[in-house]
Symmetry: C2
Subunit: 373 residues, 2 copies
C-alpha cells in the first residue's frame, strides 16, 4: 500500500473526463470505476473469486440490509465485512438512507434521525447520523456514506429544500461522529432537479472538506436530458481534487455521459438485476436472451467482450438456460453484464490517459443500437 487512505491522485484529464487513483485501506481504486452491488454482503450469484477475475476493484454493500441481517454483531464477530464475505479489496457501504426512504409508510423522519420498521420482520429501528457512521466503521469498510434524505420526484419545492437542509445537517453530524481514519466518509448531494437546491447542497457539504462526494437522487425516472443536465451541473459543483461518485448509474450510455461530465465512481444494480432477468448488456445495446432468435445462435453474447462467459458459452446455450429456468443462466449473465461495464471503464481510463476520450465516447455511443440502453 502506498499513500494514506483518501489520497486521490488525478492522473490525467481529457475534456472533463478524469483518470484518477483513489487510495483506500484495502487497496488502490483506479477511476473511473464501476462498483458491483453486493447489497446483502454478496453480489448476487457471484463469488469474490468471480469479482476478482472480472477485475472489480471495489464493491458496494448496503447498511440498511446488513443492519437488519445478519446484523452488526455477527459481522464484527467475523472480523469485519471484508472477512465475513471473503472480499479482500475495498468496500463502500451505502448509508441506508435510500432504502429507508423507499419504505414510505413505515418510517418517521425528524432532525434526530429516521425511525423505521424492518421489511423482514416489522421490528423497529432508528438510523441517526451518528449510529450509521458507527455501524459502517464497525464493519471496517473503506468508504462510508453519510445518512441522507432522499426525496421521491416529482416533489414540492419545500420538500426538496427540507431534504437538502436535513442532508447537510446530518452530514455535519456524520463528520463529527467519525472515529476511524481507515473509513472515509463521503457526503451526498441532493436537490432533485433544482439547480439552486443542488448548489446549496454541494456548498454545505464541500464546506465539511470530506474526502469524497456523491451525487444522489438521479437516475430515478427523470428524462435522459434532465439526467445529463443535472449530472453535468452537479459534477461542476464538486471540488476537482476529490472523487465524485454518481449513485445508482448504470447503463453503457449513462456511464459514457457521466464520465464525460467528470464523474469518477458508479454503482448500479442494473447489470446484475438484468442478468437475473435474461437481459444481456452488450456494447451494441441490450438484448433479451429469451428471444426465439437466439435459440440457435451459436455466437457469444457480445463479440467485443473478452469475459469468460463470452469465451465459453453461446447465446443458444444461455437462451436454453433461461427458458429452462436454470440458475446457471442468471449467474452467467450477471457475470457477463458486470464484465461489460467494468471493461468499458477500463477502456475509458486508457482513452482518458491518451487524451482520446471524446473519440472513445462518440464511437461507443454510436455502437449502441438505437434502442440500446
Amino acid at each position: 500500500m502506498n499513500g494514506v487512505p483518501g489520497a486521490f491522485a488525478l492522473r490525467a484529464t481529457s475534456g472533463n473526463a478524469r483518470r484518477g487513483s483513489l487510495t483506500l485501506a484495502h487497496g488502490v481504486v483506479e477511476t473511473p470505476v464501476f462498483m458491483p452491488v453486493g447489497t446483502a454482503a454478496t453480489v448476487k450469484g457471484l463469488t469474490p473469486g468471480d469479482l476478482f477475475e472480472l477485475g472489480a476493484r471495489i464493491v458496494l454493500a448496503n447498511s440498511y440490509h446488513l443492519w437488519l441481517r445478519p446484523g452488526r454483531e455477527t459481522i464484527v464477530a467475523a472480523g469485519g465485512l471484508n472477512a465475513f464475505m471473503r472480499w479482500e479489496r475495498p468496500i463502500l457501504t451505502d448509508s441506508g438512507g435510500f432504502q429507508v426512504f423507499s419504505l414510505e409508510s413505515r418510517r418517521v423522519v425528524s432532525d434526530a434521525g429516521v425511525r423505521f420498521r424492518s421489511h423482514i420482520d416489522g421490528s423497529e429501528h432508528e438510523f441517526t447520523p451518528e449510529n450509521i457512521v458507527a455501524f459502517q466503521e464497525a464493519l471496517g469498510v473503506d468508504i462510508a456514506m453519510a445518512l441522507d434524505v432522499c426525496v421521491k420526484l416529482p416533489a414540492e419545492q419545500t420538500e426538496i429544500d427540507e431534504a437538502v437542509r436535513r442532508t447537510t445537517l446530518w452530514a455535519e453530524r456524520c463528520a463529527n461522529a467519525r472515529s476511524r481514519a481507515a473509513t472515509l466518509l463521503f457526503g451526498i448531494v441532493q436537490g432533485g432537479l433544482d439547480e439552486s437546491a443542488r448548489a446549496r447542497s454541494a456548498a454545505g457539504l464541500t464546506a465539511l472538506e470530506l474526502p469524497g462526494y456523491a451525487v444522489g437522487g438521479l437516475s430515478v425516472g427523470e428524462t435522459r436530458d434532465e439526467f445529463e443536465r443535472m449530472t453535468r451541473f452537479s459534477a461542476g459543483l464538486l471540488p476537482a481534487g476529490k472523487p465524485r461518485y454518481l449513485m445508482g448509474v448504470g447503463t453503457v450510455r449513462d456511464l459514457l455521459t457521466a464520465v464525460d461530465a467528470g464523474i469518477d465512481m458508479f454503482d448500479c444494480v442494473y447489470p446484475t438485476r438484468c442478468g437475473r432477468n435474461g437481459r444481456a448488456i452488450t456494447r451494441a445495446g441490450d438484448l433479451n436472451i429469451r428471444n426465439a432468435v437466439f435459440a440457435r445462435d451459436f455466437r457469444p453474447l457480445d463479440e467485443r467482450c473478452s469475459c469468460s462467459v463470452c469465451a465459453t458459452f453461446t447465446r443458444a446455450y444461455l437462451s436454453h438456460l433461461f427458458r429452462a429456468e436454470e440458475m446457471l443462466g442468471p449467474r452467467l449473465l450477471s457475470y457477463h453484464n458486470l464484465a461489460v461495464l467494468i471493461d468499458l471503464l477500463a477502456e475509458a481510463r486508457t482513452a482518458i490517459e491518451r487524451d482520446e476520450w471524446a473519440a472513445f465516447r462518440s464511437a461507443n455511443l454510436a455502437a449502441l443500437a438505437p434502442a440500446g440502453d
Copy 2:
C-alpha cells in the same frame, strides 16, 4: 486416449468393492465414481469449470428433458451435447424412462413404446427403444441408457413381471438399434424388491452382452435393509468384467453400502437438490445451514473437506446467504455437497487399491452422526 470405448479394466478389489477404469470416447473414468446430475444440460448452478475443479470425470444428463427442450435439432446444430454445454469430459444420458413413468396419467405404454404429453406445454411425444437410442447417439454421448419400464412400489407381482418383460424386450431392440460405436449402451435391471424378477431381468440383459449394466428401481422409498439386500443381490447378478451402475444413489451411507456390494457408478440429485435447499452434506452427517446455531459459527462447513467453499467461506456466511435467500448460497452448497461425494469415492478408490476397503467403510460409517444420512 488409450483403449477402445467400453474397455473396463478392473484394477483392484477389496472384498466385493472394485477399483476400475472405464474407457469412454471423451476420457477414462476411474471407478467407483459419482456422476453429478445435469438434467437439462447443466448441473444446477455450476459451470463446467466448477465440475472440472471438483474432479468430476463424467456427468449425467436427461433424455426426457433434452428431448423436450432445447430438442435434438438445437443440440445437433451445436455440435452435440458436449459442445452445447461446454463439457469436454464424458456424459451419460438417462433414457427418459424414469421421467416418463413419473408422469403417471399423462402416458400410455405398449410394447411399441410409450406415448406421453410434455410437462412443459402438453405436446404429444413418443419414446421407442429405437428413437431413444437414436436420440442419445445424435447427442454424441458416451453412455446411453436403454429405455426401461419403471414401476412405482409397492406394485402387484403381475405389474413387476410385465415391467421386467418389457424392459428386456426394449433392451434387445435398443441393442439392435445401435449405430454408433462411441456411444455405449447400458441395460437397466428392474424387478422391484423381488429377487426372482431381478434375476430374470439380469439374465435377459446380460444375454445381450452390453458394455455395462445398471440397477434401476432402487432408492425409491424402500427401507434401508431392503435397499442394501437388493443392491447386494442385484450386483451379484451382473458380470464381473463390466461396469455396474446403481441409479439414483446417493448419500454418503448409501454410497458406502453400494461400493461394498460391488457397484462402480452412481448418480443422484441429492447433493445438488440439498444444496439448493440449505442442507449440507458432511462426512459427519448432514446439517441444515439455516439453523440458528450456525449464524455465528465461523468454522468451514466440513473440516474434513478440502473443497474451495470450505477453504473460503464460513458456516456463518453460508447461513446468512440462505436466510437472505441469496442465490450464491445454493451455488456454494451444491458445489460443496458434490465435493463431499466425489472426494469420498476418490478416497474409496485409494482404499480399495490398498485393500483397506473394509476399514475405510467402517470408519466412514462410524463418522456419520446417528441421524446422518
